[in-house]
Symmetry: C2
Subunit: 203 residues, 2 copies
DNA sequence: TGTTATGTACACCGATCTGTGTGCTTACGG
DNA sequence: CCGTAAGCACACAGATCGGTGTACATAACA
């Protein structure tokens, strides 16, 4: 994301069209959706000739898949890596999404593409599973009785908030966070590795 | 759904093309999505001439909106009207979706259309609010401390299960039901309208 | 029976979509 | 400075999209 100069194959050649294409994808696919964004418009926004785009990507499908792969997962990794928070706080922090966040592109892609076999759909599936797994890890760290279950539950809450926000056009994450708090308190024995014991996980 | 003979305006004229169109919409929009279903294909499936379709609907947008309005809400109303269940059981029954259910068309429409102003998007919003309201009513009946909050929470769980099922291609409703059980038990004072000892601890 | 709403058949429109073919320019690295 | 890979401009192909125009058929009801 930060590096715009690295060429496609590592060798620094040309003027980094690929990065511009992916950058434009981020913006347009999220603003307008995938199906409503044509390659012409995308190339224009990226200031890249259409020919060049199709030299970097065999087709729109591949571009969409790469767009999902490149989607900045800062919300995710940024939360799980915060060592200044207790595991329990980290679980809750996953619901602190700035209200400006457009909305989960993975759900959008899965719905828009509508084909579970599509590479992007498969990646979306993998990503969602990975999130649940990381939540489960953190839940285990927090001392949850059944970390896998709690992880899956919290993941469902996040997706619910995302979907509901999209449909209602109103932020649903606070509601999800409230549910999460209940679930976490229920699943974690009161005595377990909780707040004040700032479990330094020692990096 | 059952009646195919009723004409568009009540008077029985012609051969009920409108119903066939809407019936085909139900199938195709859900199987393939809205954007991936062309009017040509839809008319062919409905065995209706394209001209006729555009005499009944001013455009695809109107058809989509009507498709959502006509979507059989049996899952919803069928649950809330069951007087054989206690309010608490009714709240939980909302998560007993047969695994064959294709998946919430309202979320699909909102994502695919991608325009909050689209009539179908507006209807989806209204519908989701109505569901939350009915859940809140039932929650009140069940003696919940904060029925509105519980209704909104359960609605979010349903949407989460729907979205997650779509992305993961695996039934997520059991997980949502488990969360719902926790929320309900937390929100309803033990002594409240939790009708006589019908408490079935099925899980 | 005749009138009229309803539906049909089918060609056709312009727009837009993904994707190519071709020939030219430019920047970079040796 | 030169060769080559990267990128560009732009027309175009073929499909599909939503939507219409026109002329004809038929079913329902008076």
């Amino acid at each position: 994301m930060t590096e715009v100069e690295k060429g496609p194959k590592g060798r620094r050649r040309g003027r980094g069209a690929r990065e511009r294409i992916l950058s434009a994808s981020q913006q347009l696919f999220r603003e307008q959706g995938i199906n409503r964004t044509g390659m012409d418009q995308l190339c224009a926004a990226a200031q890249v000739s259409k020919r060049t785009a199709y030299q970097h990507f065999t087709g729109k499908d591949e571009l969409v898949a790469e767009y999902l792969r490149r989607f900045d997962p800062s919300v995710l990794s940024g939360v799980f890596d915060r060592t200044d928070l207790t595991p329990r706080e980290r679980l809750l922090a996953a619901f602190d999404v700035p209200p400006t966040t457009p909305l989960c592109p993975y759900i959008g892609a899965a719905v828009e593409l509508h084909d579970p076999q599509h590479p992007a759909s498969q990646y979306a599936r993998d990503y969602k599973k990975a999130v649940a797994a990381r939540l489960a890890d953190t839940a285990r760290e927090a001392g949850a009785a059944d970390p896998e279950q709690l992880g899956e539950q919290l993941a469902l809450l996040i997706d619910g908030a995302a979907a509901r926000t999209r449909v209602l056009n109103a932020d649903a994450f606070p509601t999800a966070a409230a549910i999460a708090a209940v679930l976490i308190d229920t699943a974690i024995p009161a005595t377990a590795g909780d707040d004040r014991r700032r479990e330094e996980v020692s990096s």
